[in-house]
């Protein structure tokens, strides 16, 4: 048994404490220690993007990020995207355009899309595709997901 150390993380604007092992990834800590299960484990190798969270506003694979390295960072997960139930534009746009199918990639997609719009308020379809290229979806063919991000950018929602 590896010794655990207590770390305090800033997640979705609140301080959360967890006892973690040095090799625990942020994904494991979120899902298993903090009951934040919206981040999904699709491959655990940093390829599928289902575990994407924001660290200091940047989209990051939580399955490749060690929890111990995140203590000074602001972490945003899907659970933090709609504080007090107020959906953000990108969430509403996903519903409106039918970009949600099985939902397993959706959390990661939403966070990657959110980061995309934060860095580029008026993206083109190609900009959106580049921003989401690290997030796999097997259901949608991506069209409605890209449309949703464009809709949110247009402020049409």
């Amino acid at each position: 048994m590896t010794a655990r150390l207590s770390v305090t993380l800033k997640i979705n604007g609140a301080e959360r404490t967890a006892a973690v092992r040095p090799f625990d990834t942020l994904l494991t800590t979120l899902r298993e220690d903090l009951a934040l299960q919206g981040s999904k484990r699709g491959c655990n190798q940093g390829v599928c993007g289902a575990c994407t969270v924001l660290i200091d506003g940047r989209p990051v694979r939580s399955c490749l990020s060690l929890t111990a390295n995140c203590v000074d960072a602001e972490v945003t997960t899907i659970e933090g995207l709609a504080p007090e139930g107020r959906l953000c534009a990108i969430q509403k746009a996903f519903v409106e355009t039918g970009a949600v199918q099985c939902g397993f990639c959706t959390s990661g997609m939403l966070l990657a899309a959110h980061a995309c719009l934060q860095s580029n308020a008026k993206p083109t379809a190609d900009d959106v595709k580049r921003a989401l290229s690290g997030n796999l979806c097997r259901c949608s063919g991506y069209k409605k997901i890209v449309d949703a991000v464009l809709l949110a950018a247009e402020g049409g929602i």
């Binding site: 039918g98 099985c102 397993f104 097997r138 949608s140 063919g141 069209k143």
Partner: protein, 770 residues
């Protein structure tokens, strides 16, 4: 029409469960936990074909935190299988593929379980590994299933040796057909194993109550098939196992039959504690199932005016180690090998051969994308030989109203002509000569058409009116992400003329839901939808009987009114709401209102007067959806890389209950088909899968998929379909590889007969052609 009706059938309503999915609250199997739960892991075989002489589990059992280590010796002698009961719950006595689970471990956490699983030692007596169908067919090859002859089979199987199934279908006289042909094309086509890659890996969670009854949650496409598979393989009475489902993160066929559920249930029984197992991505690639690699020898003959007269298809399927859905895939691929054409002389023959690879099984399209790739490539080849436009060639020969499907199936609705016409117009097909390629690239447009059948096997629905007049619909159909929950609720709401919000859906549960074979074969909208409409009609009848007594009038004078009321025809205001009727039914007279319906598709696949069949797996199959897909393709001259710039898919779905979801199915099917066509292939290095990771197995990303995927919905109403609907889940993928291949040929002059059309293959072919 009231607003309530306008928002039900035909409206692109967002998924009912959208909110939980966009806020991260949707629970999938990996998100479920039970108090005192153990975590499980598997030990995988390190040989492809061997007798198991013994196990040494001492070291694994000694790991602190390990609660149980089970091997094949700890499992009963049951066997499961959708067509052939040939598959044990875990390797037992024999290993049949590299990576097959040979032992499983339950421990206090996943890490401990995985560590212990690596310490299980197995003593093998190796046998010759048969890694291709050809090797398995060789004289003297060892039998992969020595007891195949004695296994129970659910259809009139033709099998023996390593041949798991042999099927032959024919119409007309194939020799005469080719004798009448002026031109004949012949070729051998090969397709690769495609992995489903649902973004959610497979997993299960089981617990046993004090009486020994099992509750099992798992990622699945049918709680009922899970129940059947676990109980068959573990020799449990089906009533002793309750199968449930959380949300499912994509299916495409891989979650239809069993994956880890039997092992997880056995661990829960042996330990007396809840046990959970979630596969990692590599395991999901290595042990679940995949699309069959096909070898197809196809011949097609036509008259000089382009009239098709004969087609012959001979297919060889790699079954992998266990039968699973494979005999169905073989038979279905042959049934679809004529394509949606009038061809008087057809022969389709195929063999399914056991090999020492993971089982192949159901995957969206079910053998149809493979044969469509061959068949639709040949239509283009003939058109080119005769100097005909490929689309004109298809229009000339396509199936027409009044025709029968190959072997005699009745076609009650055919929207194919409209699909072709609309895709042709939308894509600018007739102006394609004026398209210009990007610098350094060649560009061309390709077309393919296709069909798919929806309707198989048993289904049901229960509609209940609660005390307050709200409705609960229970069908047992698992929504695997495609949107059936929403579509079924829309149909129920429409049938009862209530707002969608007034209808809730019960989660599939083998204890409480009516039987539903599964979310597979494009069947839920059509088959379960029919049951929903019939059950709602039963509710309407019961409501009217109450209302006739309450309003003191004849039942025949009553009508369903929007918003959940029964009223007297022609007398506005004389009506009673469901609420009052239901209160009366619950507390005073008649009993609670419950409507139900179950049925099974019962029209024959085969008309013995028209066709002959041997080893046909589906005696009754279903109704026909149609598709025309056009792809605008560019090929890089330097790298050989093919890209789809834009695509058009026109699909006849009978009636789009939720057009947005139909588009979602068509767009997703196109991109999955594009992966099959261009990039996806499971590759074996000897017996071992060489690319079981998403880094090495290439599914399309946003950068690969065209944003311009245009879905055109055609609605040729199916007479007995719910509101005219038929299936949409699979039809879209069938023509994709052929449309892209035909586009590649139009662009480069080169024809590839092997998938995927990788840059390497294309470049080699282009260089050779020069």
């Amino acid at each position: 029409m009231s607003a309530a009706i306008a928002t039900a059938v035909g409206a692109s309503l967002p998924r009912l469960e959208s909110l939980e999915k966009i806020t991260g609250r949707a629970q999938y199997i990996a998100d479920l936990n039970r108090p005192g739960q153990l975590h499980a892991a598997i030990t995988q075989a390190t040989v492809a074909h061997a007798r198991i002489k013994g196990y040494d589990t001492r070291e694994a059992k000694a790991v602190p935190g390990v609660v149980a280590v089970l091997t094949g010796d700890d499992f009963p002698d049951g066997r499961m299988g959708a067509f052939i009961k040939d598959e044990p719950p875990i390797a037992k006595g024999k290993v049949r593929y590299f990576g097959e689970p040979v032992a499983c471990v339950a421990a206090i956490d996943e890490e401990t379980a995985r560590r212990a699983a690596r310490l299980v030692r197995v003593d093998y007596e190796e046998l010759t590994a048969l890694l291709t169908p050809e090797a398995a067919l060789e004289e003297g090859a060892p039998a992969i299933h020595e007891n195949l002859a004695s296994y129970f089979k659910v259809w009139p199987a033709v099998c023996g040796g390593n041949v798991a199934s042999e099927t032959e279908l024919s119409e007309g006289d194939i020799a005469q057909g080719f004798a009448e042909a002026d031109v004949i094309v012949e070729g051998v086509f090969e397709t690769s194993a495609q992995a489903h890659v649902a973004i959610e890996p497979c997993g299960a969670l089981a617990e046993v109550d004090a009486s020994g009854r099992v509750t099992l949650w798992s990622a699945n496409q049918s709680v009922f098939r899970v129940q059947a598979n676990v109980c068959e393989s573990l020799l449990l009475p089906m009533s002793k196992l309750r199968s449930l489902t959380p949300r499912v993160g994509g299916g495409f066929g891989n979650k239809m039959e069993a994956h880890v559920q039997p092992m997880v249930v056995m661990l829960a029984i042996k330990t007396g504690r809840p046990v959970k197992m979630i596969l990692n991505r590599e395991e999901d690639f290595e042990i679940v199932r995949a699309r069959h690699p096909f070898k197809i020898r196809m011949r097609t003959g036509a008259k000089t005016d382009g009239t098709l007269v004969a087609r012959e298809a001979e297919v060889l399927l790699d079954c992998g180690a266990y039968g699973d859905d494979s005999p169905g895939v073989l038979g279905y691929s042959l049934l679809m090998s004529r394509g949606p054409y009038r061809i008087p002389h057809v022969r389709a023959y195929g063999r399914l051969v056991y090999t020492n690879k993971l089982r192949f099984g159901a995957f969206r399209g079910f053998g149809n994308p493979q044969v469509s790739f061959a068949g639709e490539s040949q239509i283009d080849e003939i058109a080119a030989m005769l100097g005909l436009d490929p689309l004109d060639m298809r229009v000339k020969n396509m199936t027409q109203p009044g025709d029968r499907w190959f072997c005699g199936g009745e076609l009650a609705s055919i929207g194919l002509a409209e699909c072709i016409e609309k895709a042709r117009a939308a894509s600018g097909w007739d102006q394609r000569a004026s398209l210009t390629a990007s610098p350094g690239k060649r560009r061309g447009m390709g077309v393919a058409i296709g069909a798919h059948i929806s309707g198989l096997l048993g289904t049901g629905a229960i509609v209940r009116v609660l005390e307050d007049g709200s409705i609960v619909l229970n069908t047992g159909a698992v929504d695997i992400g495609q949107g059936s929950d929403t579509v079924l609720v829309q149909m129920c709401a429409e049938a009862l003329k209530v707002p969608v919000e007034q209808v809730s859906l019960a989660s599939p549960d083998t204890d409480g839901s009516p039987y539903n074979w599964g979310t597979t074969a494009s069947r839920v909208t059509y088959t379960t939808g029919r049951a929903v409409v019939a059950a709602a009609l039963e509710v309407e009848k019961q409501l009217k009987i109450h209302a006739s007594e309450m309003l003191e009038c004849d039942v025949g004078d009553l009508e369903l009114r929007p918003g959940g009321k029964i009223g007297v025809v022609g007398v506005p205001g004389k009506e009673v709401p469901f609420l009052h009727i239901s209160l009366r039914a619950h507390w005073r007279s008649g009993g609670p209102i419950v409507g139900h319906n179950t049925w099974v598709f019962n029209k024959p696949t085969l008309d013995p007067k028209r066709a002959a069949a041997r080893g046909l797996p589906f005696p009754q199959i279903g109704v026909y959806s149609f598709v025309c897909t056009i792809a605008d393709v560019e090929v890089d001259e330097a790298s050989g890389k093919a890209d789809v710039r834009e695509a058009w898919s026109a699909v006849d779905v009978g009636r789009a209950i939720n057009p947005g979801s139909v588009e979602g199915q068509m767009e997703g099917a196109f991109v999955q088909g594009m992966g099959f066509a261009l990039t996806e292939a499971m590759v074996w290095d000897g017996p071992r899968l060489a690319n079981p990771t998403l880094m090495d197995y290439k599914v399309p990303t946003t950068l690969d998929a065209p944003h311009g995927i245009h879905t055109i919905i055609v609605e040729a109403a199916e007479p007995e379909g719910p509101f005219g609907a038929k299936g949409v889940g699979e039809v879209g993928i069938n023509p994709v590889a052929a449309a892209i291949a035909n586009g590649v040929t139009a662009a480069t002059g080169v024809r590839l007969r092997a998938l995927p059309m990788t840059p390497e293959r294309l470049l080699d072919a282009m260089l050779e052609a020069e």
